[in-house]
Structure formats: structure tokens, C-alpha cells
Assembly symmetry: C2
Homo-oligomer: 386 residues x 2
């Protein structure tokens, strides 16, 4: 097990009808900017629940944060924060709204001239403007971590940021919110959380026995509840385990003391930036090729995953490892998610070269668990995913 530090101070308020508990969490004298996305919260009743819980607090609203939260839109919200002296942010939404709010939390206290530098120069945020979240879409885990991914349409870039100042003060998780989520987005959430676990697990074995078992626990739970969630989002047992699994998949716990990979995300982000493919679907496109290309390095862990998560009992290490990749592909398909780039765009030719060139231009010379996937190797992985 590697040395690690772990601290996650976010307060989770989980369960049926928990949105009303929001009223206990807002600091006194808060001047709140309530941030949300495309307005679905006004149709599904969540907006009304939030407003009721906020009571007489001072609230300004900012809607319209898009999926893959867009820098240009966020700059408009930043202007409001500054002119209105906002001192508390409340994100009501999924990962995009929460990530956008994290950017605003950092940017509000950033002293540099250009907030994009926080992303471009990878500036760690030690202290941000305090914020809380009401989660409306289980998937990214952003509700209990300190990271965010922001998109800039102008330059077709999608970059990460983070730091200990960006943990939500609180996050409210009511699993009943999933009843109004379209099946496509539920499938995305399941695939996204599942792949988050893989990124932190599918590496060389490192003797972190407990972390491995926790990772396997989350994947087993997602596999168990996925068909129930898709068939009947009102199944509270399935919904609650889905929601908690998504949070636990990326709240820092399972990555502590282990090597992690994250090449699937790094490459997948480019597919979203280039083609607008849903984030989760880009992961399902890249993950199988990544594991096949790096089969020798990862086969021991792939076999452990095959045995423990997919209950594969026959065959040698190579057989089990290979079948585990196939099982993973079949799982994505069962969610209704295609796993080839050509399923999403006819213009896939040249994509591998484009992504490889972008990584070279950014100086990203080595991705993955050993930071050894050079741009030419990334090119091969993307081609395998056509």
C-alpha cells in the first residue's frame, strides 16, 4: 500500500425527503447564488423544494449551466457573484452544475487576472467561496470531492481543476430525484460511476487489499442495481444504492494508497470536446481499447476483477482477464451504451491523430498508471476504439 493523506470534510445528508433539511445548512447572513442547469428542476419539483427550504434567505438565481460546464457561461455567473457580493453558492444539479460551481468558488477568490489560468496552469485551490449542493443526477461524485472539469468551447478544451478548498460544505442526496431522470442519463450515470472505479482500480496490483475490495464492492453494487434502476427508477432500494455508489466511487476513498490510471478520462474528454459525445459514453468507447492495449500490464488486476466482480471461475489468468474486458463491454451494451467511436460519428477518421497532437501540444507526454502512455500510444488506443 502506498503512503497517503485523506481528508474529506463534506457533510452528506442522504435519504428520502432530505431536501427540506437544506434550511439547517445555509449559514446565517448568507447571500446565496443558486446555480442550476437547463431548467429541468423547475419541471420535476426540485426547484420548489429547494426554494421552500431556503425560506426567507436572500437568493439570486443563475440558470443555464450546460452539460460540460462552459467557461463563457460561468464568467457571467462570476460577474454576478462579484457585483452582488454573493457569499454562498448553492448548486442544484448534477456533476456539470456542481463542477461549474466549484470553478466559481475558486474563481471568486482568485487574485489573478484570467480565471482560465486556474485550469490552464493547474492552480490548486486552497480556499474557495463556500458552497453546498443538492444533487439531482447521480454520476460524477462531484458532490463529495474537490475536483471539477470545465469546458471552453472557444478552444475546444476540457480541463481539470481541484484543491482542498473545493469540497462542498454539504451535499443533499435524495435518491427520489432519479424518478424524473431520462433513461439515457441514468445509463450515463451508471457507466460514469462504474468507470470511475475502474480508473482507480485497474492498474498493477499494489497490495492495497482493502481498497481493492471496496472498489469491487462498488462495481458489484452498480452491476446489481443497474437493471433495476433502468427498469423502474421508483425502486427506492435500487435508487439509493445507485446514488450512494456514485458518491463513493469518486470521493477520494478508494484512490488512497493505490496507483490510479485516469487515461480513459483524459482521452474521453477529447471525444466530448471534439464531438460533443456524452462524457460517460466516451469512457465506454475508450476503456475497452485501453485495457486491451495495456493488457500485459493490467492482466493480473483484470483477472482479479473477472473473478471477483464477474464471477469468472474458469480459465487461466489471460483467459479470465480477456473475458473480464468482454464482460465490461457487455455491461455497457446492456445499459444501452455503444462502445465504438463509429457508433457516434461518421467523422471519426483522423481523430486519433488529432488527440495525439493535442496531447503533444499540451506537453502531456505520459498518461496512465505508469505515466508511460505517450501520444503515439494514445493514438493507437483511439484507433482501436474506432
Amino acid at each position: 500500500m502506498n503512503n497517503f493523506e485523506f481528508k474529506n470534510p463534506t457533510k452528506i445528508i442522504f435519504g428520502k425527503d432530505s431536501i427540506k433539511k437544506l434550511e439547517n445548512e445555509i449559514p446565517e447572513n448568507a447571500k446565496i447564488l443558486l446555480l442550476y442547469g437547463g431548467g429541468s428542476i423547475k419541471k420535476n419539483g426540485i426547484y420548489n423544494q429547494v426554494k421552500a427550504a431556503l425560506g426567507t434567505a436572500t437568493v439570486i438565481e443563475f440558470g443555464g449551466i450546460p452539460a460540460n460546464p462552459e467557461y463563457a457561461v460561468l464568467l457571467e455567473a462570476l460577474e454576478i457573484i462579484k457585483t452582488e457580493n454573493i457569499n454562498f453558492l448553492l448548486a442544484v444539479g448534477g456533476g456539470s452544475v456542481i463542477d461549474g460551481t466549484k470553478f466559481l468558488s475558486a474563481a471568486a477568490l482568485y487574485e489573478g487576472l484570467t480565471p482560465w489560468d486556474i485550469l490552464a496552469d493547474n492552480i490548486r485551490t486552497e480556499k474557495g467561496l463556500p458552497f453546498g449542493t443538492v444533487l439531482t443526477l447521480p454520476a460524477t461524485g462531484s458532490e463529495m470531492n474537490s475536483g471539477a472539469v470545465i469546458t471552453r468551447a472557444e478552444t475546444k478544451e476540457k480541463l481539470s481543476m481541484g484543491g482542498p478548498g473545493l469540497f462542498p460544505e454539504f451535499s443533499i442526496l435524495d435518491p427520489q430525484v432519479i424518478t424524473s431522470i431520462p433513461e439515457r442519463q441514468l445509463a450515463n450515470g451508471l457507466a460514469d460511476a462504474f468507470t470511475h472505479v475502474l480508473e482507480q482500480y485497474m492498474t498493477y496490483p499494489s497490495g492495497a487489499l482493502l481498497q481493492d475490495r471496496f472498489a469491487e464492492s462498488i462495481m458489484q453494487t452498480i452491476i446489481e442495481v443497474a437493471p433495476k434502476v433502468l427498469k423502474d427508477p421508483t425502486d427506492y432500494q435500487a435508487a439509493s444504492n445507485f446514488m450512494w455508489s456514485c458518491t463513493m466511487a469518486l470521493n477520494g476513498l478508494i484512490q488512497k494508497g493505490v496507483p490510479t490510471d485516469w487515461a480513459v478520462h483524459a482521452i474521453g474528454h477529447e471525444l466530448t470536446a471534439l464531438f460533443g459525445i456524452d462524457h460517460a459514453r466516451t469512457l465506454a468507447v475508450i476503456a475497452p481499447s485501453h485495457y486491451k492495449y495495456n493488457f500485459e500490464a493490467k492482466k493480473d488486476k483484470l483477472a482479479q476483477y473477472g473473478e471477483r466482480v464477474w464471477n469468472i471461475t474458469e480459465g487461466n489468468t489471460d483467459d479470465i482477464a480477456y473475458l473480464a474486458i468482454e464482460k465490461t463491454v457487455a455491461f455497457f451494451h446492456a445499459l444501452g451504451i455503444n462502445t465504438k467511436l463509429s457508433d457516434y460519428t461518421k467523422d471519426f477518421e483522423g481523430t486519433a491523430e488529432t488527440i495525439s497532437q493535442r496531447f503533444t501540444d499540451r506537453g502531456w507526454l505520459g498518461l496512465g498508471e505508469h505515466q508511460s502512455l505517450s501520444p503515439d500510444k494514445v493514438e493507437k488506443i483511439v484507433k482501436m476504439a474506432y
Copy 2:
């Protein structure tokens, strides 16, 4: 899954040679009371590591906190805190030293006349004097939770306390510390952590699929590393997984959203108070009888545990459930821990009645997952454990 709230702000600093990182964690202008136990830290080098890391900080020392931290001893330390205007406590020890430090953290800011009231009246501590820990004995999980158990020899009582103000600011976990722990205490730590998981898991099934799998993960890991830890405490992989499992067994995570039981601990504490039996060993004495007495209520979960943790594949639910209890007893025996009260004292006659009467006197009318174990049922469980 039940509704829950979860917040655990303790910073964990885990790994080889991590004690030296203590220097980064002590607040400026701290006037520190360094608390420890019987003095083993002066023999095994931990004391010197701590003192080196503290550098020129102002430190007063208080040693001699006994196993089952004793109220009368702690009052002496409380006097020092008050007369010396101590503003930070540093526990260097196992669960007893850390629990004692938590009592002091609460008592230092308690405004009532008699600090024992915090325990006797179950007063929740919202704010305590800040403290950190350097863990020297993996077992209780006290390093990452907000609970403590304090003993009062005068009245042969052992009572619990807690509250959100009692999380350590930080805890330093260097798995290398176990190399100097006697085998008896390593066995106790393994049994203690294992039983902590059982208390939060062995109830009626509640549909918390992820929490169940996390609990099973911890137990599987403890079972896997136990023989290695006992055979060779310098086996770092075994030591680190043992240490992290103990912390995760009782840091709040696996108890969220599920019913819990804790009757084994409530009864076990009385055996320590009456006979001075090691805490972990009282759990090994009571747990098997508790699960047999409550077999009908718990057999579904016992069977799940038998299948997933002990890999029992044959038999019906009752068979698997019963065999799972036997496997648990065998596990304690493999640790060198006896599981009958008569193994520890010849004076066991009358113990069941004494404990039952104590619970009646305290008004504890119902223990366990359904709070339905009345004192007469407790009496039967203890008799089964003779």
C-alpha cells in the same frame, strides 16, 4: 437503505515514516499536552519520533493512561490542562489513550460541575478542545471517529460518550508501529476490529447493498491478513491493510443507512468492568452466544455473511447461518482468543444475573438492533457464554 447524515473531517496521514509529518499539523502557538499510556512508546522509539517532530513546540507530558482509560487518572490530566492553559491535546497511543484524550477534550470545555456527567447523562459534545493522534495500536478505530469509552473503577462502570466535537483534527497512522506490539495485543486488535464490523452488519437485512459489501470487504481483509500479522508483524503489506481495516471498521462509514446492534459491546463492557478481561476478548465471548440466541432474527444476514465472507456454498439458510457462527468462533480461536467466560475466570457464576441487574438499574431496557433485548434476555445470552 435508511436515511443518514455523514461527516467525518479527520485528516488521516497514513504510511511508512509518517510520524515525522506531525510537525506540519500542530497549530501555531499550540501549548500541547502530550498524552500516552504505560510508557511502551519510550521503549519502541515512537516517543523519540514524536518529540523530534514536535521540535521546539511547547509540550507538557502526561503518561500513565491505563487500558480502559480510568476517570480518576484523567481527572489529574484535566487539572494540568486547566492550570497550564493547554490548548491542544496530542494522544500518542492506542484506543485507550485516544479515548481518554477525547474525554479530556470534552471535559476541558464542559461547563458543568462534574465531568462524569458527560458520561452518566450521555451529554453530546458539540465542541471540544482540539486534539490530534499518533496511533500506536490498530484496533478501536478511535483515531477516526468521535466516540470514546471511559471506565470508572470506583463504581465498576464503563460508559460511552461522543459528539461531532470529538473527531481528531488529524491522526497519523504508521503501520510500522505494529512491529513492537505484543502478539496478544495484535490478536486483540484483529478481533476488536472484526467485531466492530459485525456489530454494524449482523442485523436484519436492510437493503443497504453497498454498505453490506463494504463491511464484508473489511472482514475479508482482516481474515486474509490476520495470520500474516501474527506470524510476522514486519510484513508491511499485511500491517498496512490491518491498520487501515481497523480504522475503516469504525469511522462511521459502514454504519450509515443501516440498523446497527452493539449489544455485544454493551454486554462485553460489563465483563471488562467486572473481571478486567481484555475488551476484544469480551467481544469474542459474547458474540457467538448473541448470534445463537438471536438466530431467527439474524439468520438471513448470518447466511449472507457465511456465503460471502466464509465462502460457504452448501446447505440451506439455517445451515449456512449456523456454520457462519462456528467459523467466527474458529477465527477467534485461530487468533489465540478463548470464547467462553469460564476460560477467563472461575468466578463466573452469578455474572449473568449481575449484568442483568446493572442494565435494569441503569434503565437499559432494550439492547440490540430492535432494542428488544431486555435484561432477562441479556441474562440468558451471558449464561450461554459461560
